[in-house]
């Protein structure tokens, strides 16, 4: 058992899987000697060599395209995009190739690659270093999109992502990279993909979130319990594509109320999809409209205003209270 922060858990998952499987290689900018700008890959180049922990030239289209080529030819590349704000040059390779290689060849070639990127706001970083655009990838058939929100889930989900036979976009909420530590046994046990994790049981309302927002959501749940005796069920979606709607639906069937929390802009965010499915499949169990507490539909502001942009405990509490008070 080691006491690990989330970014250390990422590192531990890598080390485990690289020991177990020669075909796993890491590539990205500054991941080698430097160990990644967040140190997610620290020491790995020393341990596994330059041909397995590869510093690439500065080109994200290339990083994604190389990964597709490697994956189709038997490697399991795990590529790092230094920040999600620089993932866009990789979009073409993901939507046009990674997500389609299996389908295009009827399974003759496949694309077991992972594309990782730290994402989300709240660390006072420069422009383009704080966005959350997971919804773009959630709309692409053929990929998985996975977002851990604790050290243990980072460890288990990353192992699962590497082992998955299909492409996985793995987004790491960097704001909570070092928020707190967890005891983790480095036993190589993966967590299941494609399922939500229920972090708190509750009876009055279901709070659905993922990534760093989970933490504000949990805090809001605590406060609501304390100050108003509202019992919140808290679900960490974790795999936002494909979505485990069953877990969410079952919870909402019981509670009758739901608030969705995410950092990304509201319009076209993954929250819309969850709300739409709730409205479609769970309409009869809903006592109140599904509210979404999200980033605003504006450009993620520079650091002076970023905390005003992000959903905070206060906004979540208000939304929950309004939902509870709904006639």
């Amino acid at each position: 058992m080691s006491n690990l922060a989330m970014v250390e858990a990422v590192n531990a998952a890598f080390a485990h899987e690289m020991n177990a499987d020669d075909s796993v290689v890491l590539l990205g900018e500054d991941i080698g000697v430097n160990g990644g700008v967040f140190r997610a890959t620290v020491d790995l180049q020393e341990r596994f060599g330059e041909d397995r922990v590869i510093d690439t030239p500065l080109a994200e289209t290339m990083i994604a395209g190389l990964s597709v080529g490697m994956a189709a030819q038997g490697l399991k590349p795990v590529a790092e995009i230094q920040f999600m704000g620089f993932i866009y040059p990789a979009v073409d390779q993901i939507v046009s190739h990674a997500s389609r290689m299996r389908n295009r060849t009827c399974g003759r070639l496949t694309c077991p690659m992972v594309l990782r990127a730290p994402f989300g706001g709240g660390i006072r970083a420069p422009e383009h270093h704080s966005e959350s655009t997971e919804a773009l990838f959630a709309h692409m058939p053929g990929v998985r999109v996975v977002i851990p929100s604790s050290p243990a889930r980072a460890y288990g989900l990353l192992l699962a992502a590497i082992r998955d036979p299909d492409p996985v976009i793995f987004l790491e909420p960097k704001r909570i990279y070092r928020l707190h530590k967890q005891q983790i046994e480095d036993n190589g046990e993966a967590l299941p993909l494609d399922v939500c994790f229920t972090l708190r049981d509750g009876t009055d309302i279901t709070l659905v979130s993922w990534g760093a927002s989970i933490h504000e959501t949990l805090q809001a749940a605590d406060k609501l319990k304390e100050e108003s005796e509202i019992s919140c069920e808290v679900i960490d979606v974790a795999t936002i594509k494909p979505l485990d709607m069953d877990t969410i639906l079952k919870s909402v069937e019981r509670t009758g109320r739901c608030v969705i929390v995410h950092e990304a802009a509201r319009t076209g965010g993954v929250g819309a999809d969850i709300a739409a499915q709730l409205a479609e499949k769970g309409l009869l169990s809903l006592f109140a409209p599904v509210k979404r507490v999200t980033g605003y539909d504006t450009v993620m502001p520079l650091l002076k205003l970023e905390n005003h942009y992000l959903p905070d405990v206060d906004r979540i509490r208000r939304a929950v209270k309004e939902t509870m008070e709904f006639a």
Partner: protein, 358 residues
Amino acid sequence: METVASFEIHYRQYLNAEGRAVDELPEFAKDADVLQRFYRDMVLTRTFDKRAIALQRTGRLGTYASSLGQEATYTGLGHAMQPRDVLAPSYREHGTCFVRGVPMSDILLYWGGDERGMAFEKAKDDFPVSVPIATHVLHAAGAAYAFKYRKEPRVAVAVCGDGGTSKGDFYESINVAGVWVLPCVFMVVNNQWAISVPRAKQSRSETLAQKAVAAGIPGEQVDGNDVIVVKDRVEVALTKARQGGGPTLIEALTYRRHDHTTADDASRYRSRQELESEKKKDPIERLKHYLIAEGAWGEDQDRQLSRECEGEVDAAVDQYLNTEPRAPETMFDNLYESLPTLYQNQREELQAKWKRHE
């Protein structure tokens, strides 16, 4: 002022447009059997091409990209590669695929709108057709990395057009292949046109071969209508790459004689004269003249070959047209290794609808 680097780009040709050797031929080309095989493969490609266009015109094939006039490049490339090498094609390299053992019926199936056409069993590590220009050039570099990493004596070959060299992906590929000394060959098929855009409007560079300079790798030009020089120079590059010598960029100068695809009408943007003068450089005629002059070919053999090729193509077309259609719901079957629960009801919905309509 100090000169810190200098470069030269070379052009090579063995057989000129009239089919006369302008230089001493490489060893392999002294074997008439070998050249006859090349000739045969070029004729087969052209026969296939005509038929595919006819199928498209009669509504039995989707959009199709002809390789008329470019057969030497594709055949020469196919013969330079070893079976375990890997091809990352764009969408016009049927000729190369045939040499590598891909059945003509599969190519028809794909362009007929059926994914199963890319599930071929020969050359089974080859990449599928790639429609988005130059994107696949990166796959070749990734594949080459895998070969190098596993210490396999294999080379990845990417093929793209003159238009493709304008895209960033192309450049990023040659650059990374250079710096990582990857076993890669970049084949730029300069057929002078990217749909309606002539070569001169793609780049001010005097040659496309010199794009290699930006990546610090060797680049050269060959006459892409001379199957001998294509096979020879690609093989040299492959051998070098296989031995750890790193990548090479080869620009094959040829000409796209047909419309861009069956969806295009080239008469809108280029002159008859240009086309006529390019016809004189025909790769098939050229080799035929050479073989005849060498006493290694005759008109009877030629007619016989035509009949054989037609027969092979007939058989492939039959097989294609008689392929059992896929059930609609199979569109879900290769999305993931196993279909996630969330999408299973969509598959079922589609299946149910299809059953209702049958």
